[in-house]
C-alpha cells in the first residue's frame, strides 16, 4: 500500500526553465511533508519541507506547494540548473512521529 506516490519516474527539463515535480498521498493523517534530493552513490539530503497549516513554502529557487484537499504537493525549481539533476523523493509524516513515508522518487535531468 503506497501511501506516498510519485507517478513520474523521470523528468527532463531544459536548463533555465522551471522543473515541477509532483507527489500525491493517500493518508489524510499526514501533516508534514518534505522533499529530499539524492545524487548517485550518496544518501538523500533534505531539501525543503512544508507543514499542513501552510500551502506554500519557498527557499531560494525551491518552492513547495501543498493542496490538502487534493492530497497533492509539488516542488518547483526555478531556474533549473545542471546541478539539480538528481533523484527527488517526496516524504510525509504525522506530527510527533519519527517515521517518514517516502515515495518512489523522480529522476530529474536538466539538459544544458
Amino acid at each position: 500500500d503506497q501511501q506516498v506516490k510519485q507517478n513520474s519516474p523521470s523528468l527532463s527539463v531544459q536548463e533555465g526553465r522551471i522543473s515541477i515535480l509532483n507527489c500525491d498521498y493517500t493518508n489524510s493523517m499526514f501533516d508534514y511533508f518534505l522533499w529530499y534530493k539524492k545524487y548517485p552513490a550518496e544518501g538523500p539530503t533534505f531539501l525543503i519541507s512544508i507543514s499542513s497549516i501552510k500551502d506554500k513554502n519557498e527557499d531560494g529557487r525551491f518552492t513547495v506547494f501543498l493542496n490538502k484537499s487534493a492530497k497533492h504537493l509539488s516542488l518547483h525549481i526555478v531556474p533549473s540548473q545542471p546541478g539539480d539533476s538528481a533523484v527527488y523523493f517526496c516524504a510525509a509524516s504525522t506530527f510527533g512521529n519519527e517515521k517518514l513515508t517516502f515515495g518512489t522518487g523522480t529522476r530529474l535531468t536538466i539538459i544544458p
Binding site: Q2, V4, Q6, Y32, L34, Y36, A41, E42, G43, P44, T45, F46, S49, F89, A91, S93, G96, N97, E98, K99, L100, T101, F102, G103, T104, G105
Partner: protein, 115 residues
C-alpha cells in the same frame, strides 16, 4: 565534519547466510534510523533509535531482522537467514537532539545482494 557512514558499501551473500550492516551516525546525534530501498520502490522505514532504545520497531519486516545500538553511537542491523527479497540498499540516518525529526541526515547506504 564527518557525515553518516555505513559499512560495507556493498555486500553479496548467499541465501541463508546472516549479514551485519553497520552505521556510524554523526557525532552527537542521538536519534538514528534504518531504512531500506528495494529496486523501484521508495525508502521503507525499518526502525528508529532514540539513544540506545528503540521506541519504534514497526518497520522490521520479520523476526529475521534485528538492530541494536550501543553507546549512543554505532548501530548494527542484522539480517538472519537472508532471502533474495532482502536484496536492497539499506540506508541509515541520524539527527541531533532537538533537531526536527523530519530533517534526517542520511548515509550513502549499503547495497545488499542475496544470491
Amino acid at each position: 565534519g564527518a557525515g553518516v557512514s555505513q559499512s560495507p558499501s556493498n555486500k553479496v551473500t548467499e541465501k541463508g547466510k546472516d549479514v551485519e550492516l553497520r552505521c556510524d551516525p554523526i557525532s552527537g546525534h542521538t536519534a538514528l534510523y534504518w531504512y531500506r530501498q528495494r529496486l523501484g520502490q521508495g525508502l521503507e522505514f525499518l526502525i528508529y533509535f532514540q539513544g540506545n532504545s528503540a521506541p519504534d520497531k514497526s518497520g522490521l519486516p520479520s523476526d529475521r531482522f534485528s538492530a541494536e545500538r550501543t553507546g549512543e553511537s554505532v548501530s548494527t542491523l542484522t539480517i538472519q537467514r537472508t532471502q533474495q527479497e532482502d536484496s536492497a540498499v539499506y540506508l541509515c540516518a541520524s539527527r541531533p537532539t532537538g533537531g526536527s525529526p523530519y530533517e534526517q541526515y542520511f548515509g550513502p547506504g549499503t547495497r545488499l545482494t542475496v544470491t
